[in-house]
């Protein structure tokens, strides 16, 4: 088995604005099972960061425990990383973001890490609208402990061993919308054409960006009867829209037929170009999104693409009115301005 990736790359590999090739955004060779959907998501993150010319040292990857939470080793090898406690990734991300608001935060989690042990943290990080990209690599099972059903496994889904899941599934996207997440999207690891622009848009969203990505567990949950297998997902996928992330120039390229098109402006002036495929759905209207998700569920469809975006809500730093300088850059002189200033402040209260 290979543990190292050969160092040679294609000599004509394209370079981004920083002069880096995709190689600078790669991580170590994956030790996940061959064919794991998570690896495709890692590759999508690499591609998104490369194409956006993100400086690798300005990204932090934070994860909990699980197959999904191992993946930060396999992408962005030149970025910061923190592999934290099971289900506690949001706390660590919150702390990191408080200390340094200038970084891009990737929270990587799985269905177990977010929908079971970390559910409490998950809902509260949404409530606080922390500025981060929160990716759930959702395979509907506990792959690391041999494939037991997880909380996102659909009712009636059959496991590899043949047992049928009797419990209702937690729909993380619906839950996030219900809780007021400001950017919610759903995608599939096998569809990079959709996933890469979603990750780019999520990175540009100022606030909590939630991506629920169905990622088949090729070892334990890719059998007939499973609702998270490659075949099932491909058959039941229904996209809300095709999406192009437009960093600067309003030039639109799409491989699909054009439907009704909407543009959403992000805080930093970038645009999301949406070519709608679903009817009765408006990405800026929570009620229509909740309805679209419910309709899809009744039809056994998996609604993918950008579901909801709200660019008006303040992120956590905005709500707390933190200073513009990241806290970790404040010097002692800034924090302890001296007795004269203290006297003035005290005088203000008299």
């Amino acid at each position: 088995m290979s543990y190292l990736k050969p160092l040679f790359r294609h000599p004509k590999l394209p370079k981004n604005k920083l002069g880096y090739t995709q190689k600078e955004y790669e991580g170590s060779l994956s030790t996940l099972c061959a064919g794991c959907g998570h690896d495709s998501i890692s590759a999508a993150i690499v591609q998104a960061c490369f194409e956006m010319s993100v400086e690798p040292h300005k990204v932090a990857k934070i994860s909990g425990i699980g197959c999904s939470s191992k993946t930060p080793t396999y992408f962005l090898g030149n970025s910061h990383g923190f592999n934290s406690v099971h289900g506690r990734m949001p706390s660590v991300a919150t702390g990191a973001s408080m200390a340094n608001k200038d970084m891009v935060y990737f929270g990587v989690s799985g269905d177990g890490d977010s929908a079971s042990i970390g559910m409490g943290q998950f809902v509260h990080v949404i409530r606080r609208n922390l500025n981060m990209v929160y990716i759930v690599m959702n395979n509907g099972c506990y792959g690391l402990t041999k494939g037991q059903d997880s909380a996102t496994a659909d009712q009636g889904s059959r496991s590899k061993a043949g047992s049928v899941n009797p419990f209702q599934a937690i729909d993380l996207a619906s839950l996030a919308i219900e809780l007021g997440a400001t950017f919610v999207a759903q995608s599939f690891s096998g569809d990079k054409q959709q996933l890469v622009p979603l990750i780019k848009a999520a990175m540009h969203h100022k606030g909590f960006a939630f991506l629920n990505v169905i990622s088949p567990c090729v070892t334990f949950n890719n059998n007939p009867g499973s609702t998270k297998s490659y075949d099932y997902v491909r058959e039941h996928i229904e996209a809300t829209s095709t999406l192009d992330f437009v960093p600067e120039m309003p030039e639109i390229k799409t491989n699909y037929e054009k439907g009704k098109s909407t543009r959403v402006a992000m805080h930093d002036g970038t645009l999301i170009q949406l070519n709608k495929l679903a009817t009765d759905w408006n990405p800026e209207d929570r009620v229509s999104v909740a309805n679209a998700l419910q309709h899809a569920r009744t039809k056994n469809e998996i609604l993918t693409g950008l579901l909801y975006v709200n660019t008006e809500w303040k992120d956590l730093h905005g709500t707390l009115s933190t200073c513009s300088t990241p806290l970790n850059k404040l010097k002692e002189t800034d924090l302890c301005p001296g007795t004269e200033v203290l006297k003035e402040i005290n005088a203000g209260y008299r």
Binding site: M1, S2, L4, K5, P6, L7, F8, R9, H10, P11, K12, L13, P14, Q22, L29, S30, C33, A34, G35, C36, G37, D39, S40, S42, A43, S189, G190, K192, P216, V218, T219, N222, Y230, D231, R234
Partner: protein
């Protein structure tokens, strides 16, 4: 694009760049792996089966394989294929026991081979085990042809040549050395079932019209004749100041031999610019290392003779000018002509064919340039009984080409003698076999070494210049050879794709270090090449295109910079990718058992 037909043996063959570029199609990666395993005897036999003279070629080959090596497309230097071949030859055990063992039951057919060089010897080796009675005629004292007369001993020791020539002669070849064939008609009347002409290109070009040529004749020599004179020890010394005219490998051999026979100031004077000289770069390097002055862009004007004795040569200075098609012209500069002092001059400006001994009325046609009309596939002349090969067939090339042509001529001769159609040639021997040994284990070293090419050590100049027979290159020691073998990318271990198993998880596309694999919508080739992760702009390399997959896309793999690291197959959950070793052996009259049986150490 249509799905690639990988059943065509040429598809995978082309992926093995070195083997494909080799005229004899020696399975290079196969023997490099054997060298890595220190199985030198087997490595030698893999070579011998294909190129007949591994020891000779491991020292003197023109190495068409090396510029083709895939490694030059991802880094600078190719694998030192040629010098690894020498390692197999230097360290081999008893190889003779693995060669065909005579005496062979006679098939009642007699063949005459005219000329004892690499082409003829190859024909002899291929046909003798089939029971042919083979008569070999050569004017020299021993077999080997130009390998003996033109390649100096400091590049190719006589023992090495003798050993490999004798492997063939010992198959029961009837040799008639010191016999110059004066008439092909006479040979044909000798009742042979077929005649093979492998007489090479024995005539060195001269400069008969240059002023002073006749007057200075005593000190002016034709390069290949002079080299033969040295090889057969008729010539034992040369004057101190020598000019060698020409820029090919013969010129390099002439100047380096001159240094060993007493030449102190040896100058090579060549018309073309240094970089465009015909000599192999490593030959030029070795010449420079032996203090030889290479003067380029000088066209000879005259031999200067004083008092009946050669005193030097006059040259015109030129500069290369290229037209828009890149065609070169040498135009005189305005500078004065140059006089270069010399006591002796060696003319090494090329060689040509010469067939004064072939009658023109025996049904054997010649073209306007005095070359026999020879079929490019069958090597048969217009006289059905006469076959050509080596330099005699299509003009001067090199040893490995002569061997390759010898194999094909032998196939034709065999078909002809059996009364079969010489154009209905048997297919090459091929074998494709999985290298999987476990879930993620391969039987070959799949890791990719980043080592740079290792340098072959040389003997000290102070020693080699004293003794004409002292070999300059020492060859790799086994430890260095091992490191060099690890640079080989194992291009013969093919990435074989089975559509029915693919679940389109993209794992192979994600992991491929050189971005070779793309899953995309099918299109015409020119468009498809642009739609890949990295556009496939090297048109000499094929695309491997699958049948349509479940989602309507196809898998496209650009063979160009695939490292054959096996990661696509390791990361494939369904074994849709597999690493399979492809062995290809060109059609031969006597196809030896391939792959060779495992020889116990």
């Amino acid at each position: 694009m249509k799905p690639t037909n990988t059943k065509d043996p040429e598809y995978y063959h082309k992926v093995v760049d070195c083997q494909y570029a080799c005229p004899a199609h020696t399975p290079v990666p196969e023997y490099i792996r054997l060298i890595a395993a220190e199985r030198f005897t087997e490595a030698y036999m893999v070579n011998w089966e294909s190129n007949v003279f591994p020891g000779v070629l491991g020292r003197t080959c023109d190495r068409p394989c090396e510029p083709a090596c895939r490694r030059v497309r991802v880094e600078e230097e190719p694998v030192a294929i040629c010098r690894l071949k020498r390692v197999a030859a230097d360290n081999k055990g008893d190889v003779k026991q693995h060669m065909p063992q005579g005496p062979f039951p006679s098939n009642g057919k007699r063949i005459a081979l005219i000329g004892g060089g690499p082409a003829s010897l190859t024909v002899a080796r291929d046909l003798a085990p089939l029971g042919y009675e083979i008569h070999l005629f050569d004017e020299q004292i021993a077999g080997g042809g130009m390998m003996r007369s033109q390649i100096p001993s400091f590049r190719l020791p006589e023992e090495v040549l003798n050993e490999e020539v004798n492997f063939i002669l010992d198959l029961g070849i009837h040799t008639q050395f010191m016999t110059y064939v004066k008439s092909l008609k006479e040979v044909l009347e000798g009742g042979y079932d077929a005649v093979f002409v492998g007489t090479g290109a024995p005539k060195g070009r001269d400069l008969p019209k240059l002023p002073g040529r006749k007057e200075g004749d005593k000190n002016i020599h034709i390069g290949i004749e002079w080299l033969a004179g040295v090889a057969f020890e008729h010539t034992k010394s040369i004057a101190q100041k020598v000019i060698v005219l020409g820029g090919g490998n013969t010129a390099m051999d002439c100047c380096r031999t001159s240094r060993r026979l007493g030449g102190k100031e040896v100058k090579v004077v060549v018309r073309s610019p240094f970089d465009e000289m015909k000599a192999s770069p490593w030959e030029k390097e070795d010449a420079l290392h032996e203090d030889i002055n290479i003067i380029d862009n000088h066209v000879p004007l005259s031999f200067e003779v004083k008092d009946g004795k050669l005193i030097g040569m006059k040259f015109q200075k030129v500069k290369p000018v290229y037209d828009e098609n890149g065609k070169r012209q040498l135009l005189p500069t305005e500078e004065d002509d140059v006089f270069i002092e010399a006591d002796e001059v060696l003319i090494a400006i090329g060689q040509e064919n010469s067939f004064p001994w072939i009658e023109r009325n025996i049904g054997l046609e010649f073209d306007q340039w005095g070359m026999p009309v020879v079929d490019e596939v069958t090597f048969q002349s217009t006289n059905a009984k006469v076959f050509f090969g080596g330099d005699a067939a299509f003009g001067p090339k090199n040893v490995i080409t002569a061997v390759a042509q010898g194999h094909q001529a032998a196939v034709s001769i065999h078909l002809f003698c059996e009364g079969l159609n010489v154009y209905e040639r048997p297919s090459p021997y091929t074998n494709l076999i999985s290298q999987k040994m476990g879930i993620h284990e391969w039987s070959y070293d799949s890791s990719v070494a980043i080592d740079q090419r290792y340098i072959v050590p040389q003997a000290k100049k102070s020693q080699t210049l004293k003794d004409r027979k002292k070999e300059v290159e020492l060859g790799f020691d086994i430890a260095t050879a091992y490191k060099e073998t690890q640079r080989c990318l194992n291009c013969d271990v093919q990435t074989v794709f089975t559509e029915d198993r693919c679940i389109e998880c993209d794992a192979c596309m994600d992991v491929c270090p050189t971005s070779c694999i793309t899953f995309t919508v099918n299109a015409e080739e020119s468009e498809l090449r642009q739609n890949l992760l990295v556009p496939a702009e090297n048109l000499t390399q094929d695309l491997l295109v699958s049948k349509e997959l479940k989602t309507g896309r196809v898998m496209v793999k650009d063979e160009d910079v695939c490292l054959h690291c096996g990661l696509c197959a390791e990361r494939c959950p369904t074994s849709a990718w597999d690493m399979q070793k492809f062995l290809y052996s060109t059609t031969k009259a006597n196809q030896m058992i391939t792959p060779l049986p495992l020889i116990q150490k």
